[in-house]
């Protein structure tokens, strides 16, 4: 019941906003729908907490310890981003960058995107997972090109073609998976693509087919995670799309894509009985983290800067999943949570800061603490949090990942430390002059909604010093599941 509501509410919102999205009250409607989705997700999470995992509708949908916290996180960030986007998009409209028609498109696609992500998280069917990931891509292509400028069209085209090709590889991987599964599970009853069923028979699946399938699945979904060298679309899409879209891309979509990769990894590793998939995750993760950290130095655009920072963090999380074991998996999931909260809050403040300065170029953004202390403090604290300063939660997860890496694969530690150090220096050097110094920026026509920023940062801070037992329980159960 709750599950149906979680899936149906954003779809209903999509229909409503497709009809009334140009109206004056559309942003409020968007918030209301997102809030209803959040409530439904909260009920679902509560039910899983009280009664354990759910498997419904001929086993087509399921919630276990691994996806329950991602569903909660997705619904929560979806709601806070809707809160943030209300004044943000009004200011964009005031500046003449958007028309009411475009806002209708924006609101409708926003809800469709949420529905696609929640479907990807909740479905038990690997085929439907693919369909939902593709739907999420399609709905965000139009969001990235919302401003219809040359740069945004280019970014959206690149996004579509790269992710389209990538996701086609994932489809081929899914076909191979089905090919192997059909032998073990048979064609009847459409169970051959259900993850829970595959998981029970994974020992009987043909290892050679699954090995090949994993290569295609990793390349396919990895493109969407933004893993190097397939990351080219990510900074462009983040910089040229509207800020709320950057926030949900970084905060949510990358997580969902990584979730798909990890689900595949569990199956394949159980089948081929070797560590090869984990090694591949480690390699891609390390490469992304190090490469992105060095690219950070060359950025001039504030949203591009934090786009590259997302690649770096997704690299670290992928690496941690590759390390495996209870501690690293736990840390990876904690990092997924805190990264998505912190990064979205940074995009919120970065968006308002560039609206104020009239440019996304960091050279043009100065003296935020002076002109608007809330934006300035938000950006400063957010940057501290993302850079892994204690006592924020990012510190805890990075610390766990580093210590595990030191124990299991000591040679990776220097590389990780270099990535973290370079990223620290690069981001801090950019943020510091933006926050301090003088500015002559004009005040904004609508007062910004910065409550979400501080709620997010407060949660990240709390997770750094105190871990709620329920959350820790899910993380541990999921870490056991992933192995």
């Amino acid at each position: 019941m709750e599950l149906l509501a979680v899936l149906a509410l954003p779809l209903l919102g999509f229909l409503l906003l497709a009809l009334f999205g140009a109206k004056r009250a559309a942003p409020e409607l968007n918030i209301a729908v997102s809030f209803a989705t959040l409530l439904a997700a909260a009920l679902l999470v509560l039910r899983v907490e009280l009664h354990g995992p759910i498997l419904v509708w001929h086993d087509q949908f399921f919630v276990d310890a691994f996806n329950v916290f991602l569903v909660g996180l997705t619904a929560f960030v979806g709601f806070t981003t809707a809160l943030f986007s209300r004044p943000y998009m009004r200011i964009e409209e005031f500046h003449g960058r958007l028309t009411p028609q475009r806002l209708r498109l924006y609101h409708a696609m926003y809800q469709l995107f949420m529905a696609a992500m929640l479907l990807a998280l909740l479905t038990n069917n690997m085929g439907l997972l693919w369909v939902a990931m593709e739907a999420a891509t399609l709905s965000t292509v139009l969001l990235v090109s919302l401003y219809r400028t040359r740069a945004s069209l280019e970014a959206a085209w690149k996004y579509f073609i790269l992710c389209g090709v990538g996701i086609a590889q994932a489809l081929f991987g899914t076909i191979l998976l089905y090919f192997a599964a059909e032998k073990a599970l048979g064609r009847e009853g459409m169970t051959a693509l259900l993850w829970t069923h595959l998981n029970t028979v994974k020992g009987q699946l043909e290892p050679r087919v699954l090995g090949l399938a994993f290569v295609f699945l990793l390349v396919g979904y990895g493109t969407k995670v933004g893993l190097a060298p397939l990351h080219n679309w990510l900074p462009d899409a983040h910089a040229e799309g509207p800020t709320p879209v950057s926030a949900v891309l970084s905060g949510l979509l990358l997580n969902v894509a990584l979730y798909a990769v990890v689900r595949c990894k569990v199956l394949v590793e159980g089948s081929i009985g070797s560590q090869l998939p984990s090694r591949m995750l480690m390699a891609f993760g390390l490469l992304s983290a190090v490469l992105a950290a060095f690219f950070l130095w060359r950025q001039k655009d504030i949203k591009r800067l934090f786009g590259y920072s997302s690649i770096e963090h997704m690299g670290i999380i992928t690496f941690a999943f590759g390390l495996g074991g209870p501690v690293a998996n736990f840390a990876a999931m904690l990092h997924m949570t805190v990264h998505s909260l912190t990064k979205s809050s940074i995009f919120f403040t970065a968006g308002h800061a560039s609206q104020k300065a009239g440019t996304q170029q960091m050279d043009g953004i100065r003296g935020l603490l002076d002109t608007n202390p809330t934006i300035g403090w938000g950006l400063l604290l957010g940057s501290f949090a993302i850079l892994g300063m204690p006592p924020f939660g990012v510190f805890a997860s990075e610390f766990l990942i580093l210590t595990t890496a030191m124990r299991v694969h000591p040679w990776t530690t220097p590389l990780l430390l270099i990535a973290l150090g370079v990223a620290f220096a690069a981001i801090f050097a950019r943020v510091q002059p933006m926050v301090f110094g003088d500015s002559e920026a004009k005040p904004l026509p609508h007062s910004p909604a910065l409550v979400p920023v501080f709620i997010h940062l407060a949660i990240v801070l709390t997770l750094g010093v105190y871990m709620p037992p329920a959350l820790a329980g899910w993380y541990r159960a999921a870490a056991r599941l992933i192995g």
């Binding site: 085929g127 369909v131 593709e134 292509v141 040359r150 740069a151 489809l171 089905y178 090919f179 060359r298």
Partner: protein, 221 residues
């Protein structure tokens, strides 16, 4: 399973045609011709799916054959033709660099695809197992076409041809995916083409041309 004696040869023939069309696509310059070739690819896909359905006696494969006919033989080519007409791009052709070289690279890709598919097709029990290598080759050739071409419409046709290859892989290795998944894929494809159609107009409005070499300003400097 009542496979006719000549079912397998016919299927192999159709698969070979599919591969030939992929090569023809690589060598064509005129955009409109490419759409025609794409429609032919769809037709062959439809015929081969029907044949698989007939010989295996599985009813749901007929459904997916019907879906192929509707979407890939009639729907998408029609949309693409209309799009090209409305963009006034009927007579567009592009200067493709070095077709013989592209063909040679294509040949290497085909050999690679067959090598990759070899161990898997040994395990396939379906009647169409010989064709898995061809399916992979079609995917890789479409990929090559997307890389070598600069026009937006051509890249999209390459993308759709790649999907044809994927579909062929699904029928030849596994008798097709479950119906829910196949419907979902078809829906995504259709929506994707609509979005791209919108996109063409936006790109042309901004750049006054559909040449993608204009879209190269976002680079790391």
């Amino acid at each position: 399973m009542t496979a006719h004696a000549y079912t397998v040869p016919i299927l192999n023939l159709l698969a070979a045609c599919l591969l030939l069309i992929s090569f023809a696509m690589l060598s064509r310059r005129r955009t409109q011709r490419l759409v025609t070739l794409f429609a032919w690819q769809g037709t062959i896909l439809f015929l081969s799916t029907c044949l698989v359905a007939y010989s295996s006696g599985l009813r749901e494969i007929y459904y997916s054959a019907a879906l192929t006919l509707l979407l890939k033989v009639i729907g998408l080519p029609l949309i693409l033709h209309r799009l090209i007409y409305r963009l006034g791009a009927q007579w567009d052709s592009e200067t493709v660099v070095n077709i013989p070289l592209t063909m040679l690279v294509g040949l290497v890709l085909v050999i690679f695809a067959f090598g990759l598919a070899q161990p898997i097709s040994m395990m396939a029990t379906t009647i169409t197992r010989n064709t898995l290598g061809i399916a992979l080759a079609v995917i890789l050739l479409s990929f090559l076409m997307m890389i070598t071409r600069r026009k937006a419409v051509t890249q999209v046709i390459g993308f759709l041809a790649m999907e044809n290859g994927l579909f062929f892989a699904a029928t030849s290795a596994t008798y097709g995916m479950p119906m829910v998944v196949e419907l979902g894929i078809a829906l995504d494809l259709l929506v994707g083409v609509f979005i791209l159609g919108l996109f063409f107009f936006q790109i042309r409005e901004q750049f006054e041309s559909l040449d993608l070499s204009n879209l190269e300003s976002l680079k790391e400097d």
